[in-house]
């Protein structure tokens, strides 16, 4: 009998906060796993991030759909015992503290492995569990700096720039998700549990599809540098302006010939400055200037895009986030997910980008209040009496906040 969801019966104990870990466990929850999120008594610090309505964070909602909340003071032995009891029957533990914090709470891999040898534990950190940088406080942008990514954004003679979005955090969550599922698959086929050590800085470094190899294989002569709006080595490739709108255009290989013909400059095909990819790269300023001149004569970005698209030349308008949200393609693909939150009502978030034909719909899900499931988890899963639970509340081991 086929399971009702892809992770039916999989139990996850989630110690994570902010984005990278929560994105991972959100994906597990969306595909059917039962996720219990262990929060500090004051809640995941992401609950402080905007937008807020009556104290309810939409940021938190986006990253924590369908997780049950158990709020615990992990410094107290009773809280640690509760976690150990839950982990004994769980399949997965996820955490993204700075390395060392889980050990302080008696929740490191050595301890948990002894409690449940079949456990898959995933630690997500900025710099990994060891190495000289491991103990540094980490953020996405710190990881980007140490991965050599920030250095590559912006004008050559100016301060580097960055986009206000944490692609490192979110995509690290996905990497963690993939590693966890691979480990679950391995376990299902007779393998044991194991510990997964993932870190943002290394994941971000893997995004150099070319730079590391180019630098090394060129004997150090090629040094990747930021090059503003145009590509550092390939041309024509970059961001151009047409009317009031920026357009991205790239024309390599056969598409270069298409472009020369499309802009009525077949003479360029016999111009020695543009004879091959390497020559075009060396003369990129001249070539990009020719493309810009053509756009200036067209003047209207929609017209320019239509002409280029009809000639199969890769191009795109640079959209703002609101424009993306309103775009017909976004609507046709349901890229925006509208959730219904008890406080916020309808709220739009990006849909998780995994699309399975066997499960085309993501279930309706909401995010929990702090400690919303304390009672349910302690009494139904661990068999605590109401008196036990009251006592824990009095001692400050658990609490709940309606936000």
């Amino acid at each position: 009998m086929a399971p009702q969801s892809m992770f039916e019966g999989i139990k996850v104990i989630d110690f994570s906060h902010y984005v990278a870990g929560p994105h991972c466990t959100k994906m597990l929850a969306e595909h059917g796993a039962e996720v219990i999120k262990i929060e500090p008594l004051t809640g995941d610090p992401a609950r402080m991030l905007p937008m807020h309505k009556e104290g309810r964070s939409a940021f938190y909602v986006q990253h924590n759909l369908a997780k049950k909340s158990l709020s615990l003071d992990l410094a107290q032995p009773e809280a640690q015992k509760i976690c150990h009891d839950l982990i004994r029957n769980a399949d997965v533990v996820v955490e993204n503290f700075t390395p060392g914090v889980m050990k302080r709470h008696n929740m490191d891999w050595e301890t948990l492995k002894a409690i449940n040898p079949n456990l898959v534990m995933c630690s997500i950190s900025c710099f990994g569990q060891d190495g000289p940088l491991a103990q540094l406080p980490g953020y996405d942008f710190i990881g980007q700096a140490y991965a050599g990514i920030l250095d590559l954004n912006g004008e050559p003679d100016r301060t580097p720039v960055f986009a206000d979005l944490t692609f490192g955090d979110v995509s690290s969550g996905t990497h963690a998700y993939a590693a966890i599922v691979a480990a679950l698959f391995h376990r299902f086929r007779g393998g044991e549990g194991q510990h997964l050590d993932l870190c943002l800085q290394e994941i971000l470094f893997s995004y150099h599809d070319m730079n590391v190899q180019l630098h090394d294989a060129s004997g150090g002569t090629y040094i990747p540098k930021r090059s503003g709006a145009t590509h550092n080595v390939a041309a024509p490739a970059g961001i151009f302006k047409c009317g009031e709108r920026y357009l991205f255009i790239i024309a390599l290989g056969a598409q270069w010939e298409n472009l020369a013909k499309t802009i009525d400059r077949e003479d360029l095909l016999s111009d020695p400055r543009f004879a091959d990819l390497a020559a075009r790269g060396l003369n990129k300023d001249a070539l990009n200037g020719i493309v810009q001149s053509w756009l200036d004569t067209i003047g209207d970005p929609d017209t320019a895009l239509k002409i280029l698209e009809n000639a199969h030349i890769p191009c795109a308008p640079l959209l703002t986030v609101p424009e993306v949200m309103e775009h017909p393609h976004t609507k046709a693909r349901n890229m925006l997910r509208t959730i219904v939150d008890p406080v916020w009502g309808e709220l739009k978030i990006p849909r998780t980008p995994l699309r399975f034909s066997a499960f085309p719909d993501i279930p309706e899900q909401t995010a929990s209040y702090v400690g919303e499931h304390n009672q349910e988890i302690l009494s139904e899963i661990l068999g605590y009496s109401n008196e036990d639970i009251d006592a824990l509340e009095t001692q400050g081991v658990i609490n709940s906040i309606r936000s």
Partner: protein, 404 residues
């Protein structure tokens, strides 16, 4: 339980090229899966990307170690028959052509699932399998433009900036890997085969951990926009200059208090202008002046980061170049830079895959194939073709082989 890695025994037929698809099958090959890469007669496009050494591409090596190469002219019926026979024997089929191309080769999901209903097929594309943009030619930056990312990178009053690496392609490959192992797990639990539609655009759009929600929940009042080297909504979060180098400082929550102590501006703790992250953002220029004043008293960026991080627990980092990252002691200790010894190219350094499993701490030794290197092995051993039949296919130009 002795298995060389978590995916040993999983068989993959890989029609992908360039980066996103090959990165996915690289992750699978590095996890022990058996990957057959079906390549065009010329070899896939990435075989011609630099650095080239005797026609051998370092770029290709980075993304294609551990895959067998079968070179086929997919326009021919014979090649399509070979693929159909192989599909009967595999668990996973992967491709990243523009939507519609696989159908031309009789290799779309409808045809593939008819041949093997239990197979998992993953199509990776720039803009997805349907929708008005789906047929456009796609590149990483095209996905970045349509996801609102490219427009958000750069100075507010200037041109947006391109980032110098393919984070969309590589991370989409990792998403595809996640979806495939999910479907494999589901199949092992009694579910059947299925089709996975993974798009760069979807992945890139999901990276808006905040912008979509902030725009929607603010009723359209907060419009995400590019803000150069400072975050648009949060301060202090941005890049600063120290002598000739740059560093990034992120001081939120308690770390803001730590920063004020370092700057000697404790009085700001009581100042209503700096009471909350939002009001701090309104008065960011005053904060920047104080940070720059302090930086001007420090000898260099290394010392600035040391004082911030080690003495004051304020998150900060130097902006490293790629060569500096490759030489950094942390990267060396963690083995983040992987040296691959290619049979033709020699040693070449690449970023190691970032998935680390405690049961398999060592990376598998893997080689990138020459074009068509495994034609005969695959046809003879997996499909039982005779020497004569293989010779016929070679003569008919269905197969090709070249040591590149």
């Amino acid at each position: 339980m002795t298995r060389k890695h978590v995916l040993e025994g999983v068989k993959v037929l890989d029609f992908s090229h360039f980066v996103a698809g090959p990165h996915c099958t690289r992750l699978m090959a590095e996890a022990g899966a058996e990957v057959i890469k079906v390549e065009a007669q010329m070899g896939e496009a990435a075989r011609h990307l630099p650095v080239l050494k005797d026609e051998r591409s370092g770029y290709f090596i980075q993304h294609n170690r551990g895959k067998k190469s079968l070179s086929l002219d997919l326009r021919t019926k014979e090649a399509q028959d070979i693929c159909h026979e192989l599909i009967k024997t595999v668990d996973v089929v992967i491709e990243n052509f523009t939507p519609g191309v696989m159908k031309k080769f009789n290799l779309d999901w409808e045809a593939v699932s008819k041949v093997n209903p239990d197979v998992i097929m993953c199509s990776i594309s720039c803009l997805g399998q349907e929708g008005p943009l789906s047929k456009l030619p796609g590149f990483d930056y095209i996905g970045q433009a349509y996801s609102g990312i490219l427009g958000m990178t750069g100075a507010a009053d200037g041109y947006p900036a391109l980032s110098g690496m393919a984070f969309g392609d590589i991370s989409t490959g990792a998403h595809a890997y996640g979806a495939i192992v999910t479907a494999l797990y589901h199949k092992a639990m009694g579910g059947g085969g299925q089709f996975l539609d993974i798009a760069l655009l979807d992945c890139l759009f999901s990276y808006h951990e905040m912008n979509v929600q902030v725009y929607d929940a603010s009723g359209g009042a907060q419009v995400p926009q590019r803000s150069g080297h400072q975050h648009a909504f949060i301060a202090p979060l941005g890049l600063f200059k120290c002598k000739e180098d740059y560093l990034i400082i992120v001081a939120l929550g308690a770390q803001w208090n730590n920063l004020l102590k370092l700057l000697g501006k404790e009085e700001w703790l009581e100042d209503p202008r700096f009471a909350t992250p939002l009001t701090r953002n309104e008065h960011r220029d005053a904060i920047t002046v104080e940070i720059e004043r302090w930086l001007s008293t420090v000898s260099d960026v290394t010392e600035a980061v040391r004082i911030l991080v080690e003495e004051n627990h304020v998150p900060a980092a130097p902006i490293l170049s790629v060569p500096e990252v490759m030489e950094h002691p942390h990267m060396k200790q963690r083995g983040i830079v992987q040296t691959v010894n290619d049979r033709a190219f020699g040693d070449v350094k690449i970023p190691g895959a970032p998935l680390r499993y405690s049961q398999y701490p060592e990376r598998l030794e893997l080689q990138a194939s020459f074009l068509g290197e495994h034609n005969e092995e695959i046809l003879r051993e997996q499909l039982g073709y005779s020497e004569e039949k293989i010779a016929e296919l070679n003569a008919a130009g269905v197969l090709s082989q070249k040591n590149i």
